[in-house]
Symmetry: C2
């Protein structure tokens, strides 16, 4: 097309492309209070599908949903020293309620470890009450100085899981299960993003954790995005909140805990991992709308066919929308669905109908071709799975080709600054080298074992550090 | 049973029965900040089922989910005079964020009409953008002086719908559609509560509405509970936020709006509408667990049968849980499932198994009888529907028998104080009489037309006022 592009091209200005896309695809607006966001219906429908898929996996892991209060007494946060140090600078404080100044200011939850432990310590009495596996879907607030929609917002939506176990081993296994079987399974199989699973360095751990497992994704500009984390908390919160149980042997023992979270930040990750200069590309398994059937113009037979095909596609199990808004120019509607990244667009006009065909436009491979209308309900499921597989393949090959194996700190910085990832032996970098990376806006995203697995300790021989710029 | 009752009997102390039940059935705990609550997994699973059922109906009505920020600039609230007057005494204010005092304090949303209108005024340009139908699932905060779990809490969970239409008639029809086809349909058909649909008097309207439609339910102590409301907002917020559109004729017109909400308060309504001295009774269509299969004792064949029956019931579409925790005494587990109100309990012990039978205990009609195990998957769906119907029938007949037709204010007060509802001609009471009712802790719950329908105006001839004490 010779027309001016709808979006700033990625190669020209990636951050501006991101903001353009969020506006034009009607995903979100900035909120009136600095750093907050309004998630518009289409953006929210992406989040709803993420919730559905994650919630099913979380329930399969044995966790049950619950809800803890938004407001936490300030004193709770100070009980775990590292935790309060990590979160104090980001807190929002409520000082007045019901027209009066409060006796003790309350904190708007930045995360819920403290308030949840207060209740775990009441609910857990004996080994019979363990493991206790809880998840909550909630909003949290972390005052954000450099906000960016979906990626860093003062308020965001997330799920946070919190568990208590009898032994360190059980807690460690559960954190690892969430990391791999819940988060990685969802991100690779549904989001189509080939995330790297690793272990955070001590410097990058969650405030209060003894170990943080992470999933890191490469965006199309080569930067990294942390997509979710799963923490082993050891006995840090159990000590602070006296969360203990009577063992089978009659001894009082502290519980061993985990917490793990994933948020609306994943919507930002989805955009930047798959989006191109024409807009978003939503992986079919995630897509709230997998196929849209468009009436090219006002025509009774066309409208009837479009609606009937919509029904038949829905009956075939395809999430389908019908676009019969013929008072809006066809070209504008087609560009809009492309922007929104709907995997399959089916366009039917009077001439197509006369031929018994529709134009089939696929968002992932691109291009358009005529297809017999009657064949579509049978054809589409396989095409959607093809597109799903193509996205994850593309994600993997982009990451692989943009990742360099290096041996020196200098090379690692150079690779990251040039817009790629670097793999460097952790022994060649170490905590001192890690600290120096910050001067270049570069960080260790995670540690991985030589064979690609997640190391069991920070100092395992052969551990590799993944170095990159990050959102 | 000769044992001490698990709960304070309803007849002895209804509020204490309510609190006992919430504790013993592990529905919720009080939160640390006054008026907040912790919704425990079983309580939350009731709310999740309510969300699923309502969300499907809301989507069918054409509304799409979105998410607006928790924090609202204080100045927004003051733009609609009645609205700010209504909510000012209940606001929680954030004055500090990120370690600094904020330039303008922000309000924690008590409801979202103001912030949503700010965005509607950007999104709505022409008649083509109408109707705009939005819903959000969110937490809201209203500082509560006399909190009671689920019924009046400082923070609660709800859905709030917000719509903009071209004409008064469309807005009125939509508010009525939500009232009847979304809320009443859900409350009667799923919750099994025979709610009364009516119109609020001007004194009881939502702050900023021109009309409020309500659904009122009778609790088992004869008091009323407002289960949900649907408001016509006219142009009140549109004027304050300049939410206007260009009509087909090229004129700039204010939009006509509605808003509507239902909350975790419905969990309290569910408890008090159906619960008895043995615990909760959950209507089968709502029940997160419709049937529980219990192993009476540790026995290999019993455990195998219990698990296999669990699978077969699930395959028959029944939400089933298996209770094989044989290290907890059977009696305690049976009482616990009764407390939790699970509609059907199936108990299998070695002797039952030898006979090929199970003991079937139904929560709604009560009692226990032996049934052939093989027959259960086929039998249960019909029994569950029977129990569902019985609950709504009971709810209707309780309300009918506890409602008196009266003609004087004095009789209305007497009926309400005695623990029932009174129907009195609105012309015999009027706003002055309504104001006097408050001295007796009694209120007009709603106005209904003579034929039971919802009146189109406050002064329609033949309008009847429903008078009661309320939660």
């Amino acid at each position: 097309m010779a027309k001016a592009p709808v979006l700033t091209p990625q190669a020209e200005d990636f951050p501006r492309w991101y903001q353009d896309l969020i506006n034009k695809a009607e995903l979100a607006d900035n909120g009136p209070v600095r750093g907050t966001m309004v998630i518009r219906p289409y953006g929210y429908s992406l989040w709803e599908r993420m919730q559905q898929e994650l919630d099913a996996r979380i329930k399969k892991a044995g966790a049950r949903n619950a809800y803890f209060p938004l407001f936490i007494p300030q004193s709770y946060l100070t009980r775990e020293a590292e935790h309060v140090e990590g979160f104090a600078p980001e807190l929002a404080m409520v000082t007045h309620g019901g027209g009066k100044e409060l006796e003790e200011p309350v904190v708007v939850r930045p995360t819920s470890e403290t308030i949840i432990n207060e209740y775990f310590s009441k609910w857990v009495q004996s080994y019979r009450d363990l493991p206790l596996l809880i998840n909550q879907w909630a909003n949290v607030v972390r005052w954000e100085m450099r906000p960016r929609v979906f990626l860093r917002t003062t308020e965001f939506l997330w799920q946070e899981g919190h568990t208590a176990h009898a032994t360190d081993e059980e807690a460690r296994d559960f954190a690892a299960y969430i990391h791999r079987e819940v988060y990685a399974d969802f991100m690779v199989d549904v989001l189509g993003i080939d995330v790297v699973l690793g272990r955070k360095t001590p410097a990058e751990r969650f405030a209060g954790a003894v170990n943080t497992l992470t999933l890191e994704a490469m965006m199309r500009d080569g930067k990294a995005l942390q997509m979710g984390t799963s923490h082993e908390l050891g006995t840090n919160f159990a000590k602070a909140f006296h969360t203990s149980y009577l063992s089978r042997e009659g001894r009082r023992e502290l519980v061993r805990q985990t917490s793990w979270g994933s948020s609306t930040r994943m919507v930002g990750g989805l955009i930047m991992a798959h989006g191109d200069d024409h807009g978003l590309r939503v992986p079919p398994r995630l897509a709230p709308v997998q196929a849209v059937v468009l009436a090219v113009k006002e025509d009774e037979a066309v409208l009837a066919e479009v609606r009937s095909l919509g029904e038949r596609l829905r009956a075939a199990g395809i999430r389908t929308e019908v676009d019969d808004r013929t008072d809006t120019p066809f070209g504008r509607r087609a560009v809009d669905w492309e922007l929104k990244g709907v995997p399959v667009r089916i366009e039917i006009g009077p001439r197509d109908l006369a031929d018994g065909t529709a134009m089939l436009a696929r968002r992932v491979p691109g291009g358009k071709e005529p297809v017999a209308i009657g064949a579509l309900p049978r054809l589409l499921p396989a095409l959607l799975e093809e597109d799903q597989a193509a996205l994850v393949r593309e994600s993997r090959s982009r990451r692989e080709s943009a990742t360099s194996e290096v041996t020196t700190e200098r090379e690692a910085v150079a690779a990251a600054v040039a817009g790629g990832w670097a793999r460097i032996p952790w022994s060649a970098l170490g905590p001192a080298g890690e600290a120096r990376l910050a001067e270049h806006g570069v960080s260790v995203r995670c540690l991985v074992a030589e064979d690609g697995s997640v190391p069991d300790a920070d100092d395992e021989p052969g551990t590799v550090a993944l170095v990159a710029r990050a959102y």
